[in-house]
């Protein structure tokens, strides 16, 4: 346990978040997702729901504001116009942790492709279907410097 860092971020996940650079993406997927097959690197967050993991990750991970879209969720039956409560919870936690950044729902194939390209995949135990999310890492600006 460390000061100011959510306990859900264990040694491996914390190390991975720190090792990621600008533009690297992290997928956080539900308990049914084929994480080992799709993930270049896989970290386990067993017993945790996807929204709690997103919440913990976004306390320390900056979101990319150099691109128009940096937060993505899966969608129901691969239809980006259909969202379930789990997606609305993702949107709510992002609004709190990364104000002003929108969450873009992706169609199935586009989402899978993005997970396969991601720097790492966090396998949660989220029981709800389509409970998958991607965040693109941003930058920490030098103190006193703001803006893109």
């Amino acid at each position: 346990m460390l000061i100011g860092i959510p306990s859900l971020l264990g040694p491996d996940l914390l190390s991975t978040l720190r090792a990621m650079g600008h533009g690297d993406e992290l997928a956080i997927v539900d308990g049914n997702y084929p994480a080992d097959e799709h993930g270049r690197r896989v970290l386990r967050a067993d017993g945790h729901g996807v929204v709690d993991v997103i919440d913990a990750v976004l306390t320390v991970l900056p979101v990319d504001d150099f691109v128009p879209q940096a937060l993505f969720c899966a969608s129901v039956n691969g239809d980006p116009t259909k969202l379930d409560p789990v997606h609305h919870e993702m949107i709510a936690v992002c609004a709190r942790r990364a104000p002003g950044m929108t969450v873009t729902p992706l169609a199935g194939a586009a989402f899978y492709e993005r997970v396969r390209a991601a720097y790492a995949v966090v396998a949660t135990s989220e029981p709800r279907l389509y409970g998958n999310f991607i965040v693109r890492k941003g930058v920490i600006r030098p103190l006193g410097r703001q803006g893109g």
Copy 2:
């Protein structure tokens, strides 16, 4: 780079700090110290001075307040009554990051023994002799619970 976490704490050091438990000790040693010989686990902080590393570590690592002594420094020629400027700088940074916790100077043999038993050793590039330090990890208490 992560939000609120000093950049000097890289993936491996951050992971190590998170993996340590209550009572585990971390030695932060100068550039001349035989870190590989004494350390059970060794992490590199090349190019950094010992005081900067202590400062970064203590931003996230809680100090043990279950014991009377949890912060230790080496001393000049193994004489705990003799301190150099580097030790006074350690004491100053501890006063800022861990208010109320005192730094105990140790004789040479006692210090070496403690480094050998430590969970991990961080090898800095501190050029000043006797620029060695040990911190014992404390606990993060549940929210709303304070006191030992």
